[in-house]
């Protein structure tokens, strides 16, 4: 399998001065991308899938999310913010949703759009795609960039199963670009479109989109990063009702279970899975064709879906309950999607076939790989099997693997070292 050589961008940064080498991050990384070497955490860019687990777990602020600075919006004449659906769950219920949306205008944007505007259109698109691809089962959702990268890294044989269409916020970006150019008589380069996102993965995806044919967004701001500024504006705004349109009915995209329910219908059986460990377990079953009875699987790296994103401020369960309430108590807002349908028909939302980022191979040559595996197993029986991570590798198996790949030595095992010292005493 061909593996492309390009450098991978990640929206996280290590702050070595803050790192204590505690190995908490090493243990939570789903792709074993992190090692502590010489007392400091290091991330292998080929393995990282931007799930954000390490950002959440680090108590020493040694792994921080990268986010664009809000000033960059001023480079554009017309500034648009697109809200990810989880935004709506971040505010206490005394703050009306339209007001929290208006706050972004106060922050300097000329227009605020919502991912929720294209939800109905997305459900139609997904159903149509599933029906058009009867030979591939199950179809896997492509909305979560962390999941897409996880499949590229750990389950490359499932790449053809991914829904090869742009994510909702990118579809909306395409649509708004053309609409604003036509309505306001602006050039493409005068319009800045920015996403307000719940996670590291979406910031990465804006900077290095997988499979995109065209220029999409100009930057991404995390909810966590702008939250303080928004609260400031809200205080000044005094919760005054305004006439801004909102699309509560479409907020379902933030909740993986509800999205699956929406796609599910007479001829389409959908399953919803969230949380990195669950996603990995399910993908392994899909690989063995144990889940072929499903037509569509909604996969989200975070608990409950994007409400669980690591750069949100509210607890995922509380945020979910708020969003559910908003959906229940709101009226349907009609969105004219005829233009979107045209663009979809013309194949405008299709993406380039996704490529593997395979890290699994011990060696290109199977004979060599078996020899390395043999050596790996020989080392493994010498190691204590405690999986304590004190060596800086996530498990004893990973250390053995690091040793055969010349990235570590058996002396890195602290437990063995101590045993030897005791014997000598």
């Amino acid at each position: 399998m061909a593996v492309s050589e390009k450098k991978y961008y990640h929206a996280i940064q290590l702050i070595p001065e803050n790192c204590t080498g505690c190995t908490s991050c090493v243990k939570v990384c789903p792709t074993e991308a992190i090692r502590v070497r010489n007392g400091k955490a290091q991330i292998d860019p080929n393995r990282c899938v931007d799930c954000g687990n390490c950002v959440t777990i680090c108590k020493f602020h040694a792994i921080l999310p990268k986010s664009d600075s809000l000033d960059i919006i001023n480079k554009f004449q017309y500034k648009v913010a697109i809200l990810s659906s989880s935004y709506a769950g971040q505010f206490t219920e005394d703050i009306a949703y339209p007001v929290s949306k208006q706050a972004l205008i106060e922050l300097g944007f000329d227009e605020v759009a919502e991912e929720a505007m294209v939800t109905d259109f997305m459900v139609g698109l997904i159903r149509d795609y599933i029906r058009q691809h009867k030979d591939i089962r199950p179809i896997l959702s492509s909305n979560c960039p962390a999941v897409v990268r996880l499949i590229q890294v750990k389950f490359p044989s499932l790449l053809p199963n991914i829904l090869h269409q742009e994510a909702p916020m990118s579809i909306l970006t395409r649509f708004l670009r053309e609409k604003i150019q036509a309505e306001k008589g602006l050039k493409d380069s005068d319009i800045g479109i920015f996403l307000i996102v719940p996670c590291v993965a979406h910031v990465t995806a804006v900077h290095q989109p997988e499979g995109a044919y065209k220029h999409l967004q100009d930057g991404a701001f995390s909810i966590g990063m702008i939250y303080g500024k928004i609260r400031d504006r809200l205080r000044k705004m005094n919760n005054e009702e305004n006439k801004i349109n909102t699309y509560e009915q479409g907020l379902t995209l933030a909740l993986s279970g509800v999205e699956a329910e929406m796609v599910d219908c007479e001829d389409i059986r959908a399953l919803s899975v969230n949380g990195t460990d669950n996603v990995i377990e399910i993908l392994s079953k899909v690989e063995d064709h144990y889940l072929d009875q499903y037509d569509y699987i909604v996969l989200r790296s975070c608990t409950n879906g994007c409400v669980g994103g690591c750069l949100n401020v509210e607890n995922p369960f509380v945020a979910m309950s708020r969003i559910k309430k908003l959906i229940k108590t709101s009226k349907h807002q009609k969105v004219d999607t005829s233009e979107l349908k045209e663009l979809y028909k013309d194949g405008e939302f299709a993406v380039v076939p996704l490529e593997p980022r395979s890290i699994m191979l011990l060696d290109q040559d199977i004979k060599q790989a078996i020899q390395k595996m043999k050596k790996l197993n020989e080392i493994l029986v010498m190691l204590p099997g405690l999986n304590c991570s004190a060596c800086g590798s996530p498990t004893c198996y990973a250390l053995a693997e690091d040793i055969v790949s010349d990235k570590a030595s058996i002396d890195d095992c602290v437990v063995l070292l101590r045993r030897h010292q005791k014997e000598e005493e």
Binding site: P156, S157, S284, E287, D288, H289, M360, L361, L362, D363, Q364, I366, K367, A369, I370, Q371, M373, K374, N377
Partner: protein
């Protein structure tokens, strides 16, 4: 003891000579399968799959190996008093042997018939017992050899080639 054989004609010669010699494998794995342990059953076959993934075995072949070994592993936990799974990994094939502690299969030919099952209520509750496991193992392996007898143990061996 009664025996059951099924060999893919393309591999008949190499598979038989393999069983006659049983050359030592550079990489081998062992996995204990406890009786009615549906939580852990499946981990042995998952381990084999993950090992083979690292060696670069083709995904379609990986799937055949995963399915065949998973079904055999579940059969040991569901229908026997427990046993062991031994996997031997070569550069062109994998040989996996399941040995259990009985009670054995009274009629192997019948057990091979799709839909035939003696699964008890617990096994059915766990979602197994359609009687499709053994036929599925046969479909996905290049060699299948079962040795068993009622009141004795069961040994199930499979070989799958990578190309």
């Amino acid at each position: 003891m009664a025996e059951y054989w099924n060999v893919n004609p393309d591999y008949e010669i190499s598979a038989k000579s393999f069983l006659a010699d049983k050359p030592e494998a550079d990489v081998s794995l062992e996995f204990e399968i406890a009786v009615k342990d549906f939580v852990n059953a499946g981990k042995g076959s998952a381990e084999v799959k993950n090992t083979l993934k690292r060696l670069g075995v083709d995904p379609a072949i990986l799937r055949r190996i995963a399915v065949a070994s998973y079904e055999a592993e579940i059969n040991v936990t569901a229908h026997s008093e427990g046993g062991k799974m031994y996997s031997y990994i070569y550069d062109d094939s994998v040989y996996i042997r399941f040995e259990d502690k009985g009670p054995g299969i009274s009629n192997i030919e019948q057990a091979m018939v799709p839909g035939w099952s003696t699964a008890d209520d617990l096994v059915r509750e766990m979602g197994f017992g359609a009687g499709l496991g053994l036929p599925n193992i046969q479909k996905n392996s290049d060699l299948l050899h079962i040795t068993s007898e009622y009141g004795s143990t069961t040994t199930l061996e499979i070989i799958i080639y990578y190309s």
